[in-house]
Symmetry: C2
């Protein structure tokens, strides 16, 4: 098969031949038609990930064909027996094992799910890891309920957009933050009530004025902006954190936390039941993932460059011939 190979950290990916995968016990081989990028893939090419093995094949998101049936793949395996938290054996496709930036992949049979009928292959490939992460952060850890006022930070990111779409579908009033006014407008087009540009001074005060306090805040950034999220939360409210692209939080106030009786919960990926529930939600509400751009698998380096520039809105997808 053809695949996009990471030959060494820091080197461009190499589109070349690779041996067809052999299925292990309980595994099947799926012919891939589309894959999608996650920041994880970019971080691995930059060496910013533990336990990188080369040569290898990146990619956690895939959709394709198994015995003529259209399927989408669960991005993780070996979650373990505790629904609350992944086991130490948990793995995401595409490192340390082989991923979806290839013509074929061997996965556990249980990881293969029917593709939601209303989605194309490229749309379905945009769904797995970001959709799963959003589902757990919003519903399981975030305890989202119909009627909640929800703030989603970083409105252009893959997980953030799924949080927005899922919460709108579930009857929430959703607001976003972004560093880009155009992205805020596009979020409104997806059902957001409004948004605020976090590059503005005292952006949180403007948002409080426009929207009031939030039942639930979903954050993937951390960093210095996180301190304001405790001010934006309603007393008794919840902050669900699935990422930390802005790094360490330097200004976390225990006083705001306890006086407002807030709950802050971490969330990463999701278990098998959450993946199945996420697919059901997407099918029920006919949710269509937002796709930024589709590249050919052979143009994977251009796709990574697009992600590295950070200007995308939605998922960057690779089409596999």
């Amino acid at each position: 098969m053809k695949a996009l190979i990471i030959e060494a950290i820091g080197a461009p990916l190499n589109f070349r031949d690779w041996d067809d995968p052999e299925p292990g016990p309980g595994e099947v081989v799926v012919g891939l038609k589309a894959a999608a990028l996650n920041h994880r893939d970019l971080f691995i090419t930059q060496g910013l990930y533990p336990g990188i093995k080369t040569p290898g094949i990146l990619g956690s998101d895939g959709a394709g064909l198994l015995d003529g049936r259209e399927v989408v793949l669960a991005p993780g395996k070996n979650w373990g027996t505790d629904a609350r938290v992944q086991s130490t054996g948990y793995e995401i496709l595409g490192m340390p094992g082989l991923g979806t930036f290839a013509g074929k992949i061997a996965v556990p049979h249980a990881a293969v799910h029917p593709k939601p009928g209303h989605l194309s292959m490229t749309e379905a490939a945009a769904l797995p890891l970001a959709g799963l992460t959003a589902y757990r952060a919003l519903f399981t850890q975030g305890a989202f309920q119909k009627g909640h006022k929800v703030l989603v930070t970083g409105g252009g990111g893959g997980v953030a957009l799924f949080c927005l779409q899922f919460a709108v579908a579930g009857g929430g009033e959703v607001w976003v933050t972004s560093g880009d006014d155009e992205k805020i407008d596009r979020c409104k087009g997806l059902g957001a009530q409004g948004g605020v540009n976090y590059r503005e001074t005292d952006w949180h005060k403007g948002l409080l004025k426009a929207a009031g306090e939030f039942d639930l805040i979903i954050d993937g950034a951390g960093g210095a902006g996180f301190g304001n999220l405790l001010r934006l939360a309603k007393p008794g409210g919840r902050i669900s954190v699935y990422g930390g692209t802005q790094g360490m939080v330097p200004n976390f106030s225990p006083q705001l936390l306890f006086w407002k009786q807030l709950t802050i919960c971490g969330s990463t990926m999701g278990n098998d039941a959450e993946f199945a529930d996420m697919l059901k939600l997407v099918a029920t509400h006919r949710i269509v993932p937002v796709i930024d751009q589709v590249f050919a698998l052979s143009a994977g380096n251009e796709a990574l460059k697009r992600m590295d520039q950070g200007a995308q809105f939605g998922k960057i997808v690779l089409s596999i011939p």
Copy 2:
């Protein structure tokens, strides 16, 4: 009646005559036999509290007599209708209203509870605010369960000691931190499995080695030490925060939070149902509050000085003639 009056911020309290309280609608007048100090009282004398009115009477904890029956008082009123969080009308006895450092107090009838039979008046007076705060932080917000491994930071404080006693009574394995080895030993005497002095370099590593990771951590400190609590928590574990004596947390890691699927919840005081449940727990397990020292009401300034020095272990109580 005689009372200990705060005449002005920064001035010593003044033991003098004050008009007997008149009960408002739904209120009764309780004759006080003992009161106890909380850090809140000290902070108010130092001006470190919003909305201080002088002259007034401090004190949130009280036990005494109503129509010949021995009673203990709920420390808060007007929690409101949302069990998750106090209303804006919530008040704690002793500011802005009149408190328990007096011969008598007018309180809502619903705030009067039978004194647990196994406790003396001074012991019962040690219970209300710290016991309530500990109860909510441990059970409601902390979701403590039998068999949990629990870390309680700042092992000598009033709330911390109740957390220790309640968790031991509930079948937990409890560890403590303190800046004082003698306090750690005394915590062991109360049922703690062990403890570590947080003045030691890399104290969290020593604790991890001795105890392993924790299901639940109860913290009243915040500050720079808080970052280590995320390292000490078990994946899927919980950190319950009822105070922030060490101030802002400068090193909060979103990565640890989400990767370990941790929950951090704020907790302050508690509602009426929690106060009743706390009294039941104390009665069932015949828990006796730890008392550091008993002063006469007229010696209230010495009692405050003792608290300000921070050497106490357990509650500082005022006996009322």
